[in-house]
């Protein structure tokens, strides 16, 4: 299996204080990789760097072998790398439909965009009933679905998800995770999932990465990671 996303020796810091210290890993095509770790481990910083929102002081990010060093955020999306940020990133003054259209605006073919929208409404049924509702009038779960659906409208090959379970009921989280898993199995979508809900993330992931103080301290199959009691106690707190 080839790596859809490769991160090599990534160093990122805020005002001189390093947050990521030489992080390297691969995410194989069509797999779900859970990126877990405590508060301040550097999960969000890592995702923001991969999506281009932050510039690393050293290291590189490759998408399907292409170095993304000189590729801006919006161009990374067009190349197939989408991110659902922490806090969901829904445009609250736009309706559900407008938010979804936004995800595929750069597509030239309107028919293609319409098909992508129909696909998302089928995938996340509550959104179809709320087509004309403004983003700020949605519930937390609906917002999360909308944020993921908007990212998927761009038909990405790699999806970065930052804390999708934050503030949501377990039932909603399970529903979202199930949809993502199905999507990966059906379409070959690759997912890098940053989560504090370690058990939930590892239950849907193929592989797990443990991040602590800006370094990858473990990289193993998800089931193996979930079963390693010593590691769980040391880094994951359960």
């Amino acid at each position: 299996m080839s790596a859809a996303l490769s991160v090599r020796e990534l160093v990122v810091g805020y005002g001189g204080a390093p947050v990521l210290r030489g992080v390297s890993f691969d995410v194989d095509e069509g797999t779900v990789v859970a990126l877990v770790g405590g508060n301040g481990a550097g999960k969000t910083t890592l995702l923001r760097t991969v999506s281009g929102l932050l510039t690393p002081s050293a290291g590189s990010v490759h998408l399907d072998g292409e170095d993304l060093a000189r590729v801006g955020v919006e161009d990374r999306v067009r190349r197939g790398l989408a991110q659902v940020p922490e806090g969901r990133g829904v445009i609250t003054e736009l309706t559900v439909e407008e938010n979804l259209r936004l995800g595929g605006l750069w597509r030239r073919d309107p028919a293609d965009l319409r098909a992508a929208l129909a696909e998302m409404y089928a995938l996340f049924e509550p959104l179809e009933r709320r087509r004309t509702t403004l983003g700020h009038q949605l519930s937390g779960g609906e917002r999360q679905m909308l944020a993921i659906a908007r990212a998927l409208v761009a038909r990405p090959r790699v999806l970065l998800l930052d804390e999708p379970s934050l503030g949501l009921a377990p039932l909603v989280v399970a529903q979202i995770m199930r949809v993502l898993r199905e999507l990966c199995d059906r379409t070959g979508l690759t997912v890098l999932l940053a989560e504090q809900n370690v058990a939930g993330a590892l239950s849907v992931a193929d592989h797990g990465l443990v991040l602590a103080l800006g370094e990858v301290v473990a990289s193993r199959p998800a089931a193996e990671l979930a079963g390693d009691e010593a590691l769980r106690h040391a880094y994951l707190g359960f």
Binding site: S51, R78, V90, L94, L102, R129, E142, A154, V173
Partner: protein
């Protein structure tokens, strides 16, 4: 709204407005032409501020750029023996291009600036442009550029007065500008602008280039402001630095806020206020038994004061401006009508009837 409907509305509005000119006396037609000129600028400004979230205090300078572009091109073409409609169209396009280029430069700088920094930059422009215009010989200093008198075209001369003809031309240009802006607002570019206004990071993560969208918004807004300057020059037959001061810039901004930010109807209401308020205040002060010196002094400042008061009252009572208040009133009336409507009879539901709208929230709250 579909593009076709927008175009039809634009055309319908223009025909109605032209019909209105037959009911007005020459002075009112002159005022209508001024409203059309200011509408070009306020409509562009409301799109810039309301849709893309960028503040401009320099729209008077962009109008001035359009005005000078129109006047100088018109003069050059007259010297070259070109007249009539070709000269007007070429001069109008030149006005749009000059203002658009200035807007592009402003937008490129503005894409990196926010809030007060952007306001400061645009304010610098509106201070600098009249000063530069006054000191450049080719622009004929403080006196400005005087246009060659242009009367009503031959076949219409016997039918309409000069002011009515000027109103027609001004309304036609304003209709083109406002329809163009409505198409931008309702299309993909408008959606991009609203996304960038609300959340630049989320917009970028949706594949939108925020800087490009912001620059485009400045260019579009500047082009229509330039058209406004061209119309104003055409109507007043001159352009001078004194007509495009900081006060005009501030008044344009207040007009779009009073009208309702982001609303083209609001921009139209704001433009009407810009023209009518000084006239109304002047009429009222003339009726008061005041010494002429006092009347002269307050004539210039009282409209500003009234505009300011209006702004304060509206912000407090109707934050959506006049257009927002109208929309809210319409929604209230519709809701009242629904409440007082008789209950439906027991007729079976039509198989083609739309499903009732869901009012309750989906229970997915985390």
């Amino acid at each position: 709204m579909s593009a076709r409907r927008t175009l039809l509305l634009g055309l319908g509005g223009l025909i109605l407005a032209i019909g209105l000119t037959f009911l007005l006396d020459p002075y009112r037609n002159y005022q209508l032409a001024l409203v059309a000129a200011y509408l070009c600028a306020t409509a562009g400004l409301t799109v810039l501020v309301g849709l893309s979230g960028q503040l401009s205090l320099g729209h008077a300078a962009l109008m001035a750029a359009g005005g000078y572009g129109f006047a100088l091109t018109s003069q050059a073409l007259t010297s070259a023996g070109v007249g009539g409609l070709p000269r007007f169209l070429a001069a109008t396009v030149a006005a749009a291009v000059v203002a658009g280029v200035l807007g592009l430069l402003l937008g490129l700088a503005g894409a990196r600036l926010h809030g007060p920094y952007l306001a400061g930059l645009t304010l610098t422009l509106v201070v600098a442009v009249p000063a530069v215009a006054a000191s450049v010989g080719a622009l004929q200093g403080d006196r400005g550029v005087q246009m060659q008198f242009e009367g009503v075209p031959g076949p219409l001369r016997a039918l309409i007065a000069l002011e009515q003809w000027q109103a027609w031309v001004a309304l036609a240009v304003a209709a083109v500008a406002v329809t163009g802006l409505a198409l931008v607002r309702d299309g993909r570019t408008g959606l991009r602008m609203r996304a960038v206004r609300d959340d630049e990071v989320a917009a970028a993560l949706a594949g939108i280039a925020p800087a490009r969208v912001k620059v485009l918004a400045f260019v579009v807004s500047s082009v229509t402001a330039g058209l406004g300057g061209a119309v104003l020059t055409f109507v007043t037959q001159s352009v001078s630095p004194g007509a495009y001061t900081v006060s005009l810039s501030l008044l344009l901004l207040v007009a779009v806020v009073v009208g309702g930010l982001g609303s083209l109807l609001g921009a139209a209401l704001g433009a009407v206020l810009l023209v009518l308020l000084p006239w109304l205040v002047g009429t009222v002060t003339d009726m008061l038994p005041l010494p002429s010196q006092v009347t002269q002094r307050i004539d210039g400042t009282l409209p500003l004061l009234v505009f300011g008061l209006l702004l304060i009252v509206l912000v407090a009572c109707a934050p959506g401006g006049l257009a927002g208040a109208l929309t809210a009133a319409r929604a209230r009336r519709r809701a009242r009508r629904r409440l007082t409507a008789p209950a439906p009879t027991t007729a079976p539901p039509s198989p083609t009837a739309p499903a009732p709208r869901e009012s309750a929230r989906t229970p997915t709250e985390g």
